[in-house]
Amino acid sequence: MSGARIAFLNARLLDPKSGLDAPGALLVENGTIRDFGPRLFHDGAPAGAAIVDCRSLALAPGLIDMRVFTGEPGSEHRETLESVSRAAAAGGVTAIVVMPNTEPVIDEPSLVDFIKRRAAATAFVRVLPMAALTHRLAGEAMTEIGLLLEAGAIAFTDGDRTVANARIMRRALAYASTFGALVVGHAEDPDLAESAAMNEGEFATRLGIPAVPPAAETIIVERDIRLVELTGARYHFGQISTRGALEAITAAKARGLPITCGVSAHHLSLNELDVGAYYTFRKVKPPLRSEADRMAMVEGVAAGEIDVVVSSHDPQAADTKRQTFAQAAFGAIGLETLLPAALTLHHNGFASLLRVLETMTSAPAGVLGLESGALVKGAAADLVLFDPDEPFAVDPARLHSRARNTPFEGRTFQGRVHRTYVAGVCVFDGADDVGAR
């Protein structure tokens, strides 16, 4: 299949990087983008190529999701690299950055190698492993960042844990900067967040749930900005959730610091009131915030102050979610709802379609230092074919993830993925109404 020529005809070509939004065609040959443009194949389809009639559906670079938790190795009952890659493909995501929070923790070169080999053998999409920033995520001793980079780690993070000790964080950032390595931080003061299950405020008070104030996020954001200033490390806040954090990051960027940030589709779509009647599938970390904070996130994405939108896909098994709210695990799956949830910003008039796509294509590629995430001749044909307007009702039974903990059950978004291609190979075909002749 990958050796073949595939001609995508009658497509709406979308490329956030170049600003292209026009009807046209695209030719894939040997797994790479051979040519594309509004005038391509005006004189008719090429002979010998498989034809995909896109019927004006959008054809865009495949999505890059910078924040995905899996259960492999160690918790394969929650999610494997194979099952998570099926969910990714169904969501139009062609590359996933996987977190090191597994058992064992991905904190040494042979384990990065393991993830890469397992992904090569079982996954349908590209798997980009992050390695731990500190040994066993304990926040005490830095990992072998140089050797891990050589083994193929794309960035360094303690996942959903904050390195509490500023001295250790400073040294880890200084050491990472030696190699130009990207550090992805989680901003939540662990002492303020201890035993907290949701956002601090009136609603948590009424529910009687232990809660964490937004300041827990701002404190670490401001600390880490100072440490970046001291060390020169490249730093990405994996996901933020508060206006305070966004303001601090925006100011730091204006000072020229090498800082970027992301937000999850959950935090763009839901607020603390959605916790409702102790709904554990909406217990996430950081917690769903106030409506004012959610709106700040939406506006931050629209303004380009928030660089990246992520799924924060975190599969949990029934045993960890069928609990009281206080005892339930954090996390929600999100790979298959990432695109439709993010497109809400477009449909509600906050951001253009290209801006929304940029946060999941060229922007994460830029943060990660990848060439992908754009329509470029000669680049790998990682593509998503989707209808930005078609209704998409979230039915947990029809999701591809091994886990079912979606916070969007029953919700109807606009935006549906029809096909996903990785290196010219169709890894997801979910629509009957796309003509493949």
């Binding site: 500190t134 005490e140 001793a141 830095m142 960042i145 040294r171 900067s177």
Partner: protein, 321 residues
């Protein structure tokens, strides 16, 4: 062949390289060069320090430096007393100034001091009537090491002007690096530092050196490579993640050394961590490694320093023998 020569040092102590002039450094190296000859004959004794008392006061264990000073003192005819912290009252809570006062009463002529804290030699020099030689204070200075390194280089290369010297490893904690940076810069060499950012001191570029984090870049075209010892307790994740990672990126092996000039000299103040900061294949290669030569130059350099200080004693007529 040697009597009491003319004055060499303007001060009665050797606390660091910082205050030495180019003339003082050159004169010390010239004198040390003469002592290399004396140390190579069967009759190594001189009477220059006859009747003088030299105390080696080491708060930090250092077999190499202490025996080098001891030998230097004995070859010059001094009475040498070694005091280590474990046998002194310091471990019983005495302050450094109390120790100084006590020592002063013993009327030594020269005190050689090694201390874990920066500024300790300076403090003693203000409280004692004798000459004080800094044999290493904290992360501050180790002047005799820099002088012996300079002697080794000068005997091999003749001059310092234009030499490219790469100092690699734990710069942050290294007094050897600080003294060498000062001395080599003064003498006209171009000094480069190579280390992970965790082992580079703040604003190191203000010391008049070039900073590198990639060791191959630092070694490119280098005439001299000086390796520093990495203390074992700094390897387990605090400053660098592991010895194997350190060796991979900052250990001197043949592959990295290929970037230096063909006639490069490799130096190390010792003791070496083989397989951590230096590969045995390089350390033991007599074509490039002058590590053993440094040890020999150490004794001659310390003889020159003791001689120079004794000239000052004679001049002032203090404790005249």
């Amino acid at each position: 062949m040697r009597g009491a020569g003319g004055p060499i040092l303007k001060t009665s102590h050797l606390l660091g390289i910082e205050t030495l002039s180019i003339g003082e450094i050159t004169a010390l190296l010239d004198l040390a060069d003469e002592y290399v000859g004396l140390s190579r004959v069967a009759e190594k004794k001189s009477a220059i320090l006859k009747g003088r008392t030299l105390i080696n006061l080491f708060f930090e264990a250092s077999t190499r430096t202490q025996s080098s000073f001891e030998l230097a003192g004995k070859r010059l005819g001094a009475d040498v007393l070694n005091m280590s912290v474990r046998s002194s009252s310091v471990s019983k809570g005495e302050t450094l100034i109390d120790t100084a006062t006590t020592l002063n009463a013993m009327r030594p002529d020269i005190l050689v001091v090694r201390h874990q804290d920066s500024g300790a030699a300076e403090l003693l020099s203000r409280k004692l009537d004798c000459c004080v030689v800094n044999a290493g204070d904290g992360s501050h200075e180790h002047p005799t090491q820099a002088l012996l390194d300079a002697l080794t280089i000068r005997r091999r290369r003749g001059d310092f002007a234009g030499l490219v010297v790469a100092i690699c490893g734990d710069i942050l904690h290294s007094r050897v690096a600080r003294s060498n940076i000062l001395l080599l810069s003064k003498m006209g060499a171009r000094v480069r530092l190579a280390a992970p950012r965790t082992l580079l001191p703040a604003e190191a570029d203000r010391l008049g050196v070039e900073i590198y984090t990639d060791m191959r870049d630092a070694l490119s075209g280098a005439d001299i490579v000086m390796m520093l010892r990495l203390q074992l307790e700094r390897m387990a994740g605090a400053f660098v993640p592991s010895t194997r990672e350190y060796f991979r990126f900052y250990g001197l092996d043949r592959d990295k050394l290929r970037h230096a000039k063909p006639n490069v000299l490799v130096m190390h103040p010792g003791p070496m961590n083989r397989g951590v900061e230096i590969d045995s294949a390089v350390a033991d290669d007599v074509e490039v490694s002058v590590i053993q030569e440094q040890v020999e130059m150490g004794v001659a350099t310390r003889m020159a320093v003791l001689d120079a200080l004794a000239r000052g004693l004679a001049r002032e007529g203090r404790n005249a023998p």
